[in-house]
Structure formats: structure tokens, C-alpha cells
Symmetry: C2
Subunit: 664 residues, 2 copies
Amino acid sequence: MTDLVKHQRMANAIRALAMDAVEKANSGHPGLPMGAADIATVLFSRFLKFDPTEPNWPDRDRFVLSAGHGSMLLYSLLHLLGVEEMTMTELENFRQLGSKTPGHPENFVTTGIETTTGPLGQGLGNAVGMAMAERLLAAEFGDDIVDHRTYVIASDGDLMEGISHESISIAGHLKLSKLIVFYDDNHITIDGPTSLSETGDQVARFEAAGWNASRIDGHNPDEIAAAVEAAHKSDRPTMIACRTTIGFGAPTKAGTAGSHGSPLGAEEIAGARKQLGWDYPPFEIPSDVRDSWRIAGLMASQVRKDWEKHLGSIDAEKRAEFERRIRGDLPAGFDETIADYKKKLSADKPKVATRKASEMALDVINAAVPETIGGSADLSPSNNTRSKGMVAVTPEDFSGRYIHWGIREHGMASAMNGMALHRGVIPYSGTFMVFSDYARPAIRLAALMGNRVVFVMTHDSIGLGEDGPTHQPVEQLAALRAIPNLLVFRPADVVETAECWQLSLERRTGPSLLALTRQNLPTVRTVFEHNNRCSRGAYELAPADGDADVSIFASGSEVEIALEAKAQIEAAGHKARVVSVPCFELFEEQSEDYQADILGTAPVKVAIEAAIRQGWDRFIGNRGVFIGMDRFGASGPYKELYAKFGITAEAAAKAALDRLTALA
Amino acid sequence: MTDLVKHQRMANAIRALAMDAVEKANSGHPGLPMGAADIATVLFSRFLKFDPTEPNWPDRDRFVLSAGHGSMLLYSLLHLLGVEEMTMTELENFRQLGSKTPGHPENFVTTGIETTTGPLGQGLGNAVGMAMAERLLAAEFGDDIVDHRTYVIASDGDLMEGISHESISIAGHLKLSKLIVFYDDNHITIDGPTSLSETGDQVARFEAAGWNASRIDGHNPDEIAAAVEAAHKSDRPTMIACRTTIGFGAPTKAGTAGSHGSPLGAEEIAGARKQLGWDYPPFEIPSDVRDSWRIAGLMASQVRKDWEKHLGSIDAEKRAEFERRIRGDLPAGFDETIADYKKKLSADKPKVATRKASEMALDVINAAVPETIGGSADLSPSNNTRSKGMVAVTPEDFSGRYIHWGIREHGMASAMNGMALHRGVIPYSGTFMVFSDYARPAIRLAALMGNRVVFVMTHDSIGLGEDGPTHQPVEQLAALRAIPNLLVFRPADVVETAECWQLSLERRTGPSLLALTRQNLPTVRTVFEHNNRCSRGAYELAPADGDADVSIFASGSEVEIALEAKAQIEAAGHKARVVSVPCFELFEEQSEDYQADILGTAPVKVAIEAAIRQGWDRFIGNRGVFIGMDRFGASGPYKELYAKFGITAEAAAKAALDRLTALA
């Protein structure tokens, strides 16, 4: 059997599994796996450092199927290479509830999947972050320990999405030469030929972004292999535009949108079997093909074993540190570091914006936790994300810990996901909170995947003042709290900010987001407690003197207002308490008893937040008093804005007292 | 005085006003207006069809300052050209509450501003839509009536944002030759020199996207004028990379990030006056400069008068139609058209997905309303946005009414804003609802500006099934309802879908969004009513037989489940009613009495929606029963998913009966 025939049979195994699994599921996308099978076969059988017996070893090459709808490509590869979990039964259960083969690849469901893709462009963004993490760790631990590549298969859709621009720009700028993107250039999208909506030149485009780029025949294994070898020698990231035929092998649907997103049908599949020379029944792999793939898997295992041997031979302390980083444990003593810092704050009582409080916390954290990687989408002086002495990464030197992301919120957030998925670093980065909208699809995926990333969102309300409604978040707090598994923190002062940072870093199961002010706030936590009070999501900051007539719930900058309202209510002869609510989601995790205690029994409940009401009914009920926003903001000095929109202690106290009078 | 000196004095007037207004406001962005003053002076004094006495005349050229932070450039121009409203007092009140000069340009506040910018990249996207609307209307009404250009000033930030890629790709594809973008290439962003994060070649990038692109000295008026003249002759859109100095004229801060976003300070301003040869006090314009600008304004007025004369001479019916379109009135008889259609539906009772119901409604609507322009972000066969006989727009022929946007949700939504701002067309377009996240910054701006655009979001829950959690909206309904001034509709059947479409089109003050199912739903509105029941946001679809024990609130696909739960509760001997809730926002606009009636007095309240609870406490209180989602979805057949997540009539009925038992 010639090498070419062997290659084709290996690739055809993928094609057959893909079309048969989609047919059995009666839904799915056969076109991409059939079209990209040659690329994947060359990559996985000749180049990829991937060990099917230990798919998560640290120095493996990363492979990202950015066009996640072609998930059967990945599942077929995992099966053929011999990943134990990916049995033939799993392939037969494609897209069924509880299977390891969901419609789109989910890294938290399936071993050997690097990231969750499907929303187009995200995989490419993740891959940029993975390639950055590789460089960052190599700069720290040495190329003998960290030396792997990141490969991507991207579709037309991936490259049409705006995030692709942000991702390839930063990758080109940083000269991520170990990042290699195969562009599955099949000239087809769902609506029909790409010519309906695209006439751009992708090769020229990538070159303009500082990439090495070329065009090849995506069905010619020699051209594919030569392009990969050339990419390995490049000092820039590489894009290989592979001209392919979507649904390759299907007699009438190949090269058409008809093979993209639905089962081919029995007749077409029979025709494809004939055309491909594939005489085997569904879900049966002939032994020669199975052997070819297993041998590829075994060869990759050896690479991993050699690396482990080398790792075992290096300095023990360095190895322990590397292993800690990969495990994701924080350095010992982190808790005490934060406690000491809080003690100092409660004594000093600084009046600073929480964005400044965040910078102060980062001065402490970044000194204690070497794995944090900071950054900002070109708002470093506003987001206060660059702590003392932090050095920026440059294309030539990755020993720094700060990334100038440029004005690329979406690419930044998606790359942060990739960094977290890579492991070994903990990324945090900033932008204005209103622009969380730009990064939202990546924030959602961070939550879905459970990635440890921290989004620093400053200028969190009308409190930013003159920049006006385009820059003033009003609905973002509610919209972010809506995302499952995202912790949204809105600390009220320096101490809460330190506590929220601690919780964000200690969290291993998902992302956190800090909503921080532009304007200064007094320290309200003036009595030191070792205990992290924010960990319960909401807590009684200022008790009433006896049974409360009024419970006031507030977050962030409005806690100051709540405390002042309490004083005014008390001056009017009633009793009030203030509950600080730094994190809705953590409050929901508390016991029913704790929740009931915090909600309390005061006849009047008030919530204050310079944002919309949505979500606050949980605390105050649908008849509670809400002091906040019900429309977009306006441009003007911030104190005037608070007055204009009625978010004042006076308004809160008056509303509470009016209610008490009405009840009396 | 030479032409050059005259030009420089006109430009320096802008520079002085910008630096002085920012200084007085003690916040703002002097750098861009000072750097781009030469470009703007050439454009506004020699080319732009803009009439200061009638800034909104239909065939004017559009000018978009995509880099909205440079708002003082626009305000200065409006003042100097003689727009009455833009008095010197307004300039002195820059960034003050209630002024016509907010921090970023707001088209709904200030006459002569075409769009609201600040969130970077959006202005460019809007401009693409404006240029498309121009071509669409010209194809319909003739180049003698519609013949204008769209100009943009874009910054580094605009071009780093991903949306810029989507926008320039579609513009290049459609050969929007009357779109001209000045790239303010000043080599500076907030973090410092652009070299910190960008090494791409913008000219090559635009060329790769099918644009005509060149580089010029952005301070040389002859080069600027020559580039504009060349652009006028191009058959492609044009990008002119103008090398400028940010903060031009400032002695120490010019060319640095220090001039970008804060007042220059008294000393620097004095130095700039000296360097620019500008000896006048703040907010004083010498008469020669005032005259030069006013003459430019007067010349533009004449163009408008000539056009009006021509419009007066054309066929009266055609003129009336053109004027109706510009006013934004719907065709007479639209209401009856919908009523007739609803009558047929209530008789036929089809069981179809609401995405199909939307297509059926569009068959009726697009036949009756010639100004609708449909489209999809490459999901036409899934979004069902292309109605019968709708012809696609091509680069060569704009007489069609359907846009293949490609996989560009964000660029699409931003361009839709531009189309609506242009006036004369009503754009609607589709994508999967989960990908509303990709378009969210543009959806927000649609709401802020009050644009009449309709977002068609299909596959609106776990009901989409096998594609899994990356594609299943869970939090999007809440997150979209959070946006002020956006109507989020989730119709329950064919009739409600028709009603929601009617409301969306009749709405002149803001955007609407339709959340539509992939799965089939029965007709629940089987009795014809002329009245649009959805117009009240929530209404009693199925009354109880007497006083209700249980009120069930539901939207969209869960109304069917609510009706079945009602039947089960009744079978258990209790009384239940069902309220359909197609639109939270419209419900909030109803009288307190109506709201109280709808909320009702049943002791047990249940809400059912295949999404998160956030927002529903408004209907059921914080102790009500919610049947929905509290985490991300999963991949599998949709009926299995509804069962897995407990969104069933059985679960709802059981929860309600348990509550009744507990209360008894």
C-alpha cells in the first residue's frame, strides 16, 4: 500500500465516521469533517504532539477546532488515535444526551478536547491565548520544559467574525510563531457560496497582520505536510489557506451548502462510500486503518514519556513550582497575605476609587502570586490593572507579566480563555464595564467552560460622569449576573475589593468579574476581620439598633449612600440596617437560614444600585423600594447625575419613611 | 491671505475651540480634534453636502465621527458652519448636564449629528449601513433623487475593534464606492504608542478587503483634497490613511498619549496658541475665520435648495412615496393587512415554529411594506428571514431587498443602525439568539438612539436541541430585557408572531427583537380578534373558571406547557389561569390597574420560561414558583432536554399543587 493510499484510507475513516454518525443522530455537520479530513490526518498522524493515553500532559501540542460544528472530526480522531473514553459507542451516540460526543466540542465533557467551540471565531481567539501562555511559561521555565505548538482549523465563518481580526492582529504583533492556522477554504457557507458575501483575500489579510501565509491544495497530503514544515521554520504565526471541498466524497452534495449542516441521506452516503472506495459498514474500521492510526498515537506517547523523564531530572524546586502552576494551586500563604493587607486597610481607611483599590490589591497579589498575567484593552491608566513594577510583554521578550491588548476587548477575553485552558497562568484584564458587551461571547464561554479568568471592569456606573450614556453601564450588571457560573463582584471599598480579588483567584471552577468605580469611596469596613465577609455574597454591614424597620441592600458605590440613608432614617426615629451585597451568585449558594437572616424581616425593604432593578426583587420583593436607574444615563459631572436620577441618601430615606408611614 | 493660511486659520479655530472647551469642562479629549482639524476643514469646507440651515435634508452627505471621543471636532464644525442650535454657549457648556455638547456625540440630543458614537468601531459600522441605504434608495428612486456620500473619520481604536473587520469586509464586497473613510493615523492610543500593540498594515488590510486605499499627510490640505477627489472616482470604497499628529500644535504633548484624553492645562494651551499663531481668547473666533466658515455653509445650502427644486418637479406619486419613506410612516392600510392575516391564522390554526410563523408574517408584511430590507448573518434557511420572492442585493444591483450579511452579526447590527439613521428603509435581520451576544454593543446603541430596527433571533432556547449549550440561549432573554428601550418579544404562536411583527414595525422610537423557536408550536390564539393583544405586553390567554387558585405566566414555547399545566391543575380540582407574556417592556407601560388585573390575586403564582428566572419575580414575587433554567443547557433531542431540566407541564402542575397543599 502506497503512503498516499494509506493516508487516504486514514482520512476516509474520518469521513465515514462523520457521515454515519450524523446520519444516525439525524442532525449534525458532515461537510467539514469530510472536507478537512486530509488536513487533520496529516497533522495528527505526522506532527501533533498528542498522547492518547495521557491527553492532558502539559507540553502537548494544542489543537483547536475553531469551526466547532465539525465536531465529528475531533471525535473521530480521538477514537482512531485510541483515547480510551472515546469508544465506538460514543460515536454512535453523537449528539445524544449524556454522551461524550455533544453537538459541539465541550472540553468539560470530553477528554482530549482543548476548548469548547461552536460560536465562531472563539477557537481562534483561544488558540492565540494558548500560544501566548506557551511563550510566557517557556520564558519562565525554559524551552526544555515548555515547547509546543498550537494548531487551529478555522472556517470561513471563523474568519468573517470580527473577533478573528482582533485575534490575528495581536498574534501577528506578538510574533506567535508557534501558532499555525489551517483555513478550511471551502468556498461555502450556510447561505450558499461564499461569493454571496465575501470577496476579501484572506492570505493578503493575514500578511497585512504580520503573518506568514500561503495557499495549498487541502486534499494533497504532501502539500499539507510541506506547509506545516515551512510553518515550523517561520518567525511569525502561519496561516495556511487550504482549498478544500466541503463534504469531500459525497457524489452530489460535495462542494455545496447541502453537505454543511444536515445528514447526507442514505443514498448520498452510499454514493460517497463508492466514490471513496470505502466498503465497510457504518462504525466499522478495517484493521489496517485502525493500525495506522494506533501507531501514530503510540509514537506520540513516546514523546510524552521522554519529556516526563526530562522533567524528572531538573531542579526539584523548579519542578515543584512548574507542577504547582499546572495544577493551579495558589502559592502557600496567600490567605495570610490578604489578611495582613486587609488589616492594614482597616487601620488606614483610605478613600479611593475601587479601581484604585484594585490596583492596590494587585500590588500585593502580583507580588505573592507569580502566575498572574495582567493586561488591559488599552485602558491601563484607567483600569489600574498594571501593578507596581509590572513589565510588559513584547514580541521579543515574554518574561514580562503585562499585556497591552490594544483596543480588542473580545480578542482579549477569548485569549484569556485560551491562557486559562492552557494552564500555568491566571489571566486578568481590564476594560470599561460598558464594553463588557464587546467581550460578552467570550465571557459566556469562560463561564460555560469554568475557566479561571478575572475580568476587571472599571467605570461601573453613571459615576463615571461626563463620558455620558455610551460609556455608562446601566444594564450590564444585570446582564452579567444573568450568565450562569460567572461571579459578578461589586465591592464597596478597599477591604471588599481585596476580599473579592481573593475570592476571584481562589475560585477554580469559573470566571469572576469585578465591577469597579471611577469615583472615590470611603472605607466602610473599618474593623478588621480575618474572615472574608464577601465570601457569603451579602452580609450585614451595619446592623440596626434592635429590630429593623427598614432593610437597605446596596452594592459598590451605593453602600456609602445606604449608610447615609440609614443615618437619616434613624434621625427620623426609625431603625434601619444596611446589607452590603458584593456578589449575588455567592449569596445564592448560602444556606436557606443564612439567606433568610440576611433578607431579614423589616417591613420596608430598599435596594440601592446605580443600575437597573432587574434581579433586585430577589432581595426586596416586587413591592420593595428600588433606588436606581430605569433608563440610559447622561453626560455631566457625576454628582449631578446621581442627583438627576434620584440616587441619593435623601431619596432612599424619604422613600423608606413614606412606606413606613403608609404601613402605619 | 493665501489659501493655505486661510485653511490653517479655519483649522486652528477648531483646535482652539477643542482645547479651550476641554479645559473649561476639565475633562474630554483635545487630541483628536487638534490632529484631525485639517482633514475636517478640507472635507467640510470643500466637499461635504451639508446645509447648516437644514441639517437633516434627505440627500445630504453623511459624516460620521467614528472616534466619538473627539466630539469637540463635530461641535466646533457645527458651530462654525452656523447650525443655529450650536451656540458658543453650548461649546462653553461642553460635557455639562443638559447641554447640546455631551461627552460623546449623541444624535438624539444634537441637531446635525448623524449617529451616536464613542463605543469604538460602531460609527464605521453605521456608515456602512448609511452607504447601503443610499444605494438601496437610489436603486428605487433614481440617482437624481438619492446621490450622496458617506464620510467617516476613524481612529486606531476603531480599526482595532473586530467590528471594523466585519464592516469593511461587507463594504468591500458590496463595492460601496461612495463610502470614504479617513483613518486618523496618529500612532497613539491611550496606553502609549500604537507600537505597543499593533504592527499591522492598515492600507494592505483594506486593500485585501477590496478597498481602494492610500497614505497621505493628514496635515496637508492639498493632499487631503486630492485624495477625496480620487475617492470620488473610485469604483470601490476608499480608505485614506492620514498621518497626523495627535494634539497638533500643543508644544510638549502633541504626538503623545498625554494629549488624548485630558485637558492640556493652561501652560500647554498658551504654548499651543503661540505655536499655532492663534492670538484670540478662548471661545472667540476672529471675523475672517468666521466668514470663511459661514461661506462654506452657505454654499452647501444652495445645493440643498437645488435638490429640493428638482424633487418638486418629479412625478407627484413618486415624490409622495419618497417623502413617506423619509418620514417613516408605514403604508396606509397596514393595520388591516395584519388583521386580515390574523383572521386567516386563527381559522387555519397551523402548528409551526415561530421562526416559520415569522416567515409567514414576512410574506404578508414585505408585500405590503416596500421599505423593509431583510437579511441574515448567514443563517437564512434557519432564521427564515427571506420571504417569498425576495431578491438578494448584489454588488452590481441594489434593487433587491435581501442582504446576505455573511457571518458578521456585529457588523450587521451596526449597519442596520446606519440604515435606520439614514431613513427611508426599515432593516430587519436574523441570527441565532445566542449570538445576540455578538451584536450586543450595536443592539444597545439601537436602543440608546431609538432606531427602528428589528432583530430576528431564532433558536431561542434549549428547544434547539442537539447543537448544545454553546448554541442554547439561557440568559439572553434576561440580558436583552435589561437593555432600556429595547422591546423583546417572545411570541407563543403564529398569531402572536404576527402581532409582535406589527408592533415592531409600528414602533418609531426604538428597536424590537423577536425571540423565535426552532420547534413547532400549536396555535393558541384560535379566536380572531382585530385588537393586537400583544400590545399590552401580557394578557390573560386562558381565564380560570372563577377565582383562580393558580396564575401561570409564560412566554413563547412555554405557553403551550402552561396551558397543559392548567388542564392538569384543573383535573386535580383547582382553578388556574394562563397569562401569556410576549413582552415585559410593554407590560410595564400599562396602567397600574391593568397590571394589577393581569398579576391577579391567585395565592399561587407560577412562571414558565425555558431561560433563567431573572426578571420574572416582577410577575410571581420572590417566593413564586419558577419553572425554567438555572444553568447552561446540554446537547440532545429537545424533548429530552425539556424533561432533563424539568420544564414540563407535569413539573409545573405538581409544583403549583404542592404549594396549594402547603397553603391549605
